[in-house]
Amino acid sequence: MELYYYLIVSLIVFIIGMIGFFIRRNLITLLMCVELMLNAANLALMVFGTKWGWIEAQAIVLLVMTVAAAEVAVGLALMIVVYKHYSHLFIDQMTKLKG
C-alpha cells in the first residue's frame, strides 16, 4: 500500500471536518469537527514520519493527543458555562456582541 493513499484519506477527513465546522451551528458538534481535523493532521504527521523513518513523529503524535485531551476538557467546561448563560448551545443565536 503506497503512503500517499493515507495522505488522501487524511485530506478527505480534514476537509469533511472543515465543512462541518462551517455548516454546523451546535457548539458540541463544532468541537467534534475540530477533533476530526486534529486527527487528520495527526495521521498526516504519522505518514510523514513513516516516510522519512523519523521515530520522533510518534512521540509528537502522542504529545498532540494529550494536548487535544486538555483542549477538550477546557472546551467542554466552557460549554457548560455557555449553557448556564444562554440555556442553549447554538452559535448563531449568541449575538450579544453584535452592535
Binding site: 458538534t29 469537527c33 523513518g53 504529545l63
Partner: protein, 164 residues
Amino acid sequence: MESLLFWFFAIVAVAGSIMVIAQRRAIYSALSLIIVLCSFAGFFFLLGASFVAAMQVIVYAGAIMILFVFIIWLLGLRTGEEPAIKMKWFYLAIVFCLLIGAQLFYIFVTNFKEVVLERSTDIKEISKVLLGKYVIPFELTSILFLAALVGAFYLAKGKGKAEK
C-alpha cells in the same frame, strides 16, 4: 491483506466523518466520531505504530469521547438538536475546502507517489525519544494537563459557588 484492511478503514473513516457532520443530534455525532477514531487507530496500526494506535483507542475513543458523551448527557439530548443547515454557509464551505483540497492533493500526489511503506518502529525507541530528547515537552504536557484540570474545574463549578 494490508490493502484490504486499508480500504476497509478508509471507507469506515470517511463514512463515519460524513455521519459526524450530517447527524442532527449531537449524541449520534459523538458515536460516529468514536467509529472514526477507532478506524484512525487502525491506520496507525497499519503504519507500524502499534503503540500510538493503542494510545489512540485509549485516550481518544476511551477518555475524550467519554467526556463528550457525559457533557451531552449532562446538558440534555434536547440541546443536541439544531435547526436545518443554512445552505449559503454550505456553499461557502465547499468553495474554501475545494481550494485547500486541490492544493494539498496536488502536493501529496506529485511528491509522494513513488514512496512505498516500510515499517520499523519499536516501543523501546519511542520511549527513548519521548523520555530522552523530548523530556521537557513531555513534562510540560503534564503541567498543561494540570492547568487544564484546574481551569476546567473552576469553569464548570461556576462563579457563584466558587466565591463561597
